[in-house]
Symmetry: C2
Subunit: 163 residues, 2 copies
């Protein structure tokens, strides 16, 4: 890790571990951390150099962050390099992540649950599932479905509060 002060490097490491805790690769968190404390946009080579990463990792990591709306890429004229900078306001990043990854995931989960309800009905009819078991399962699945629905409607509100 070159050309970066200890405090910034430590911040990057902290964000790396935090990202990891949420299932995001450490390198991705590190990149965001580096950019967040940078007073100017950085090129891929600078990122890779500062964080001791291969340029390949820097590239995919930065693109992932872009997909999460956590960073922006821009380019100077007369310089073919891409320059990356963090979008400030972390809350906004969170909000974007909620709507762009949590929400679709929720929708998907919802569909699968609905499918399961049907499947279970079929199992009941073919006798694989006793009436007793069937009612319990059905009940709990419906509860879960209701909750995901509810959560979906509250999501925008929560986003607003968190901001």
């Amino acid at each position: 890790m070159k050309r970066v002060t200890p405090s910034r490097s430590e911040f990057a490491q902290l964000l790396g571990r935090t990202a990891q805790a949420f299932g995001v690769p450490p390198s991705v968190g590190q990149i965001y951390g580096l950019l967040y404390l940078s007073d100017r946009p950085l090129s891929l080579d600078e990122i890779a150099d500062a964080l001791d990463l291969s340029k390949a990792s820097a590239s995919v990591g930065a693109r992932q962050l872009e997909a999460l709306h956590a960073v922006r890429v821009s380019s100077k004229s007369d310089d073919r390099r891409d320059y990356w900078e963090a979008s400030l306001e972390p809350q906004e990043v969170l909000q974007k992540m909620m709507s762009s990854v949590l929400a679709p995931r929720l929708a998907n989960a919802h569909n699968r649950l609905e499918g399961l309800v049907d499947l279970m009905r079929a199992e009941r009819e073919s006798g694989v599932l006793s009436g007793e078991e069937f009612t319990v399962c059905q009940q709990r699945l419906q509860l879960l479905i209701a909750k995901t629905q509810q959560f979906k409607t509250w999501l925008p509100v929560v986003e607003r509060f968190v901001r």
Copy 2:
């Protein structure tokens, strides 16, 4: 995966993948899923058998879930086995997880950030950091700290809304 109907097994798998997406081992999610759709508490052997896991995994997974307040363990008299059941009301599980894992993590992050602020001040004084850089970093770190604080105060409210 024996002694479990397709729909229930699929549900367990779904929860396994979901857990994984949040950085929790799949087996842990699977166990919760199995218990959630069970009409009675299950023993470790039943869990391991149903999910094709070793008893060791079943044991540690169940204990992890217990730590997250997602399951309860009980024992019948005249039977030395432990019996596990999911705590229903998934929202409550979420809420407990927020207060018992998210909140401490937040507090910890907060402390580390404060430490970084000090470290940066030292770097400024020793000239490692230019005045320009220093102000930018300081500013952004403070913003972040403020936001984590804010988030901490809103957490209980969000919990209540989600419920």
